[in-house]
């Protein structure tokens, strides 16, 4: 496989992957690892893409599923952990994006559970409740309620910081 696949099918949608990976990582090194893993899995899953959904939706799905089940090594190298399940880990990429507001928002998003992060990211990306329910695999009715709760929590975190 040449780099054509990356250039043609992944790079134009890199924004989606970046936004998702940033929500599941706490530092640049992890972010780059997650990004590469997502790209690798998109490439590996390309034959399973059956055009039942749009290509960007497929990228959302893979990105989220990879972030939810990514194994990363702790710095000690002793054990692997799944996703960023270390609540006490320092969030040190507060300058990841150019906009301070976005950094602030991401900092708040990282306080949410893995599932809630996925939901709010899709919501902020202006996906409909139906699309979010399809990507996550949930009930459309519950998405609205959950989003309301997540937004309240995010606002609370952001206001506390202000």
């Amino acid at each position: 496989m040449g780099s054509d696949f990356y250039q043609l099918y992944i790079l134009p949608f890199a924004g989606i992957i970046i936004k998702i990976c940033r929500a599941y990582t706490n530092n640049q090194e992890d972010f780059e690892d997650y990004y590469q893993e997502v790209c690798l899995q998109i490439w590996r899953s390309r034959d399973n893409f059956n055009q039942e959904c749009e290509w960007p939706t497929w990228i959302y799905r893979i990105s989220l599923n990879v972030c939810l089940t990514y194994l990363k090594r702790r710095k000690s190298g002793a054990k692997e952990i799944i996703s960023n399940s270390l609540p006490d880990e320092a969030i040190d990429d507060s300058k990841a994006f150019a906009s301070d507001e976005i950094n602030q928002l991401y900092s708040a998003i990282k306080h949410l559970s893995e599932t809630d992060r996925a939901i709010i990211l899709l919501y902020l990306e202006e996906k409909s409740y139906l699309e979010i329910a399809e990507i996550i695999g949930s009930n459309t009715n519950n998405i609205g309620v959950r989003i309301k709760r997540i937004k309240d929590r995010l606002n609370k975190y952001i206001n506390q910081k202000d």
Binding site: M1, Y6, L11, A14, G15, I17, I18, K19, F31, E32, D33, Y35, Q36, E37, L40, Q41, R44, S45, N48, F49, W58, R61, I62, L64, N65, V66, L68, T69, Y70, L71, K72, I81, I82, S83, S85, F97, A98, S99, E101, I102, Q104, L105, S113, E114, T115, L124, E134, I135, I136, G137, S138, N139, N142, R146, K151, L154, N155, I158, N159, D162
Partner: protein
């Protein structure tokens, strides 16, 4: 704070093209860190290790004058290869393009059925392995000397298959203990390596299930 989070998002990513993708290094030869791939690798390595291990056992046992035990262990290991191959094949049906819930559920189901398949076999494997070793021990010269010594120290008229009853009883008890705890041992071993990930997956699935109800 007056700005809504939706507005913050929109304004922050007003020019999405400015997002810089990290440099990609040797992407397509990269070693995957995904749990499914890791488990697949583990099964693939298991298959190779079992095949190599079987041959080594056969050669070693033949060299120390116990070719039948070597052959016996090889036969015990063969079903493990078949289980690992079957489970590995099943894992390739796990598509990462499913919805998150379906993906996590199919992974969880595959994992549970794999653990069940392995642990069921280990319940048979460990006791039979021990019995094979014990039998070889008994028929060996050193084993014969040990039995003579035992008979001198603890003489008895009750012999089963020409062996003192307590020796048979001890072997039977150890075999039963192995059969009873093989499953626990296997799961304990697996939990040491992947326990944290399994717990995390369980939490994720529980959370997603609440969203479906």
């Amino acid at each position: 704070m007056t700005k809504s989070i939706e507005r913050m998002w929109k304004d922050g990513f007003v020019n999405e093209a400015n997002l810089t993708a990290p440099k990609i290094n040797d992407l397509y030869n990269r070693k995957s860190q995904n749990i499914v791939d890791k488990m697949q690798n583990m099964f693939a390595i298991n298959i190779k290790a079992i095949i190599i291990g079987s041959f080594i056992m056969l050669i070693m046992m033949s060299l120390i004058g116990a070719p039948f035990l070597g052959l016996y262990i090889c036969c015990l290991l063969l079903p493990l290869i078949s289980i690992a191959k079957r489970e590995l094949k099943k894992s390739f049906n796990l598509s990462k393009g499913q919805s998150s819930y379906e993906y996590l559920m199919s992974f969880d189901n595959w994992l549970k059925s794999s653990i069940e398949a392995y642990s069921s076999y280990y319940k048979v494997f460990y006791p039979l392995f021990f019995l094979g070793m014990a039998t070889q021990g008994i028929v060996s010269n050193a084993g014969g000397e040990l039995i003579s010594l035992l008979m001198k120290m603890f003489p008895t008229d009750i012999l089963i298959l020409g062996l003192p009853y307590y020796l048979i009883a001890a072997i039977a008890i150890v075999t039963l203990i192995m059969a009873k705890y093989a499953d626990v041992l296997y799961r304990w071993d697996l939990n040491i390596v992947y326990g944290r990930q399994f717990k995390k997956l369980e939490e994720l699935i529980t959370d997603m299930k609440t969203l479906r109800n």
